[in-house]
């Protein structure tokens, strides 16, 4: 987040943000369930200018054997950015940031997946960020939930995700790249709307205790919007778009 110097107008006098959105308006979100031929399940998401592909394999055997668990299945998640996905070409080796986000997304998905239904085996979730534009972890988590469902993995709920944040002393929904760089706070939230549980939560940037509560609230409501798009994507694949 480094320098938060506001060299651009992040919010104008009419409450319009730098990309023309209102404070509580998410970016354009397009989710597609399926698409990959070799993966057991997959999803593709465009979340603003983010473009992310997720493939799921499993449940399948674990090698080496001693990494498996006789009582429960295990979930493995890799979040990975393509060299061309960001402004300056990214070094192909996994960064510490990618390793941390992989772990955070894994722990956000675990409450949703019925791991005890497939002991001794693993489910692998491979997340590929093709183009990044702020909020990749939320977009990735959203698509990963759809890909898991597409793979037929038994689930308690799906995790929907979006970031709340603060620019120009105002709480906003769905922080884009410019707002993340020049804004005051970014709070990615992952939420299971049916089970009403927050499974991913992070915050960078300064919030008063009141703003903090408001951000959580705005984020949870945003997740409910995203959830509808997740369900629609699965519906479109399995029951066709004609049903609409």
């Amino acid at each position: 987040m480094g320098g938060r110097d506001a060299t651009m107008v992040l919010l104008d006098e009419n409450g319009i943000r730098c990309d023309g959105r209102k404070v509580d308006e998410p970016r354009r979100i397009m989710i597609r369930a399926g698409g990959l031929k070799n993966a057991d399940g997959s999803a593709y998401i465009e979340f603003g200018d983010n473009k992310i592909l997720v493939g799921v394999f499993g449940p399948r055997d674990v090698h080496p054997k001693h990494m498996s668990d006789t009582d429960t299945g295990i979930l493995r998640v890799r979040y990975h950015m393509e060299p061309f996905s960001v402004g300056e070409r990214k070094n192909p080796a996994p960064s510490r940031r990618e390793i941390e986000i992989s772990k955070v997304i894994k722990e956000a998905l675990e409450p949703a997946v019925m791991l005890d239904k497939f002991p001794r085996t693993a489910v692998d979730v491979f997340i590929e960020v093709l183009q990044a534009d702020g909020g990749t972890r939320c977009a990735a988590l959203t698509a990963a939930s759809v890909a898991l469902a597409d793979a037929g993995i038994p689930m308690r709920d799906m995790v929907a995700a979006i970031a709340a944040g603060k620019v120009a002393d105002t709480v906003i929904l769905d922080v884009n790249n410019e707002e993340d760089q020049a804004g005051q706070a970014d709070m990615p939230i992952g939420y299971m709307p049916s089970l009403k549980k927050i499974t991913l939560l992070q915050l960078d940037g300064v919030l008063t205790p009141e703003e903090y509560k408001k951000c959580v609230d705005v984020g949870v409501k945003g997740c409910e919007l995203v959830y509808e798009l997740q369900k629609k994507a699965l519906h479109d694949k399995y029951f066709g778009k004609g049903d609409e």
Partner: protein
């Protein structure tokens, strides 16, 4: 430190039973941190240092301050980097080798809590714009493990930074030259305090010890600054929180953090 066994299960059952009676295994209140002992200047040859005991968890932080090259796009700012490492003597399960994801997360969360509070004013750490800046490295090593490394490392780094002495460098002949004897404290703007809360069943507990850490369903680490604002948060663990719980954790972090901030101030004063 993540394996589950029959004994772990029994331990968790016991911990939950006690929580239902409003009690914790070591007799603390649910929102009570363990005793914190801060010994500054533990490594006199470093620019700053602290040894912190959080119950039976022990961390040493050493701060090194030295000239460095700025990042290409921020030539008007010094560097601040905070790391954390689990020494293999801290627990029988720790393995040597490259850091595993939990340790990478630990280091990044501790770094971010301090960085996002803007504790160290890096704009004052420039020797020559775009060419040479001052780098501040706060390296934590965990010496004994009994849960909640997030807070122990954060307190050690904060105490070490609060008591660090910065040398002065002049820009001479295209390189930074040390000006002997001109040491000043680091430019500090606020004192961040990290408070980690575990969720076991439906109970939220502050500063989980080792046994509680193994039994947690989920955790959240919240950092607050001297103004009582919230500046960083990280949720972890394989379960979720309700919105109410997250709001409650925010309140606890402000309240408990304020008390701990006083301890850090005392340590700072004690070292002068």
């Amino acid at each position: 430190m993540t394996s589950t066994s029959v004994i772990d299960e029994l331990k968790k059952t016991k911990i939950l039973e006690l929580l239902e009676q409003g009690k914790r295994v070591d007799g603390r209140a649910l929102d009570e941190a363990r005793e914190i002992t801060i010994e500054t200047n533990a490594i006199p040859k470093a620019n700053g240092s602290a040894r912190v005991f959080l119950g039976d968890t022990e961390v040493i932080c050493g701060v090194k301050i030295q000239p460095d090259r700025p990042f290409p796009d921020t030539g008007d700012k010094g560097l601040f980097i905070c790391t954390a490492e689990l020494l293999p003597l801290s627990h029988p399960t720790v393995e040597t080798g490259p850091p595993q994801p939990p340790v990478i997360e630990l280091a990044r969360v501790v770094d971010r809590g301090i960085r996002e509070s803007h504790m160290v004013d890096v704009s004052q750490l420039v020797i020559e714009k775009d060419k040479s800046v001052i780098g501040v490295f706060a390296d934590n090593v965990v010496v004994d493990y009994d849960g909640n490394l997030f807070d122990a490392c954060s307190y050690a780094a904060t105490a070490a930074l609060l008591t660090s002495k910065t040398p002065k460098w002049n820009w001479t002949d295209d390189s930074p030259v040390l000006a002997e004897g001109e040491e000043t404290p680091l430019p500090i703007t606020t004192i961040p305090v990290s408070v980690t809360m575990g969720k076991i069943g439906n109970y939220i507990i502050v500063d989980p010890n080792g046994d509680e850490w193994e039994s947690m369903d989920a955790r959240v680490t919240i950092t607050t600054d001297s103004d009582g604002n919230i500046c960083a948060l990280q949720k972890g663990g394989s379960d979720g929180f309700t919105q109410d719980e997250i709001n409650q954790c925010g309140e606890i972090s402000v309240r408990v953090g304020a008390k701990i901030r006083e301890k850090l101030k005392e340590a700072q004063k004690g070292s002068q």
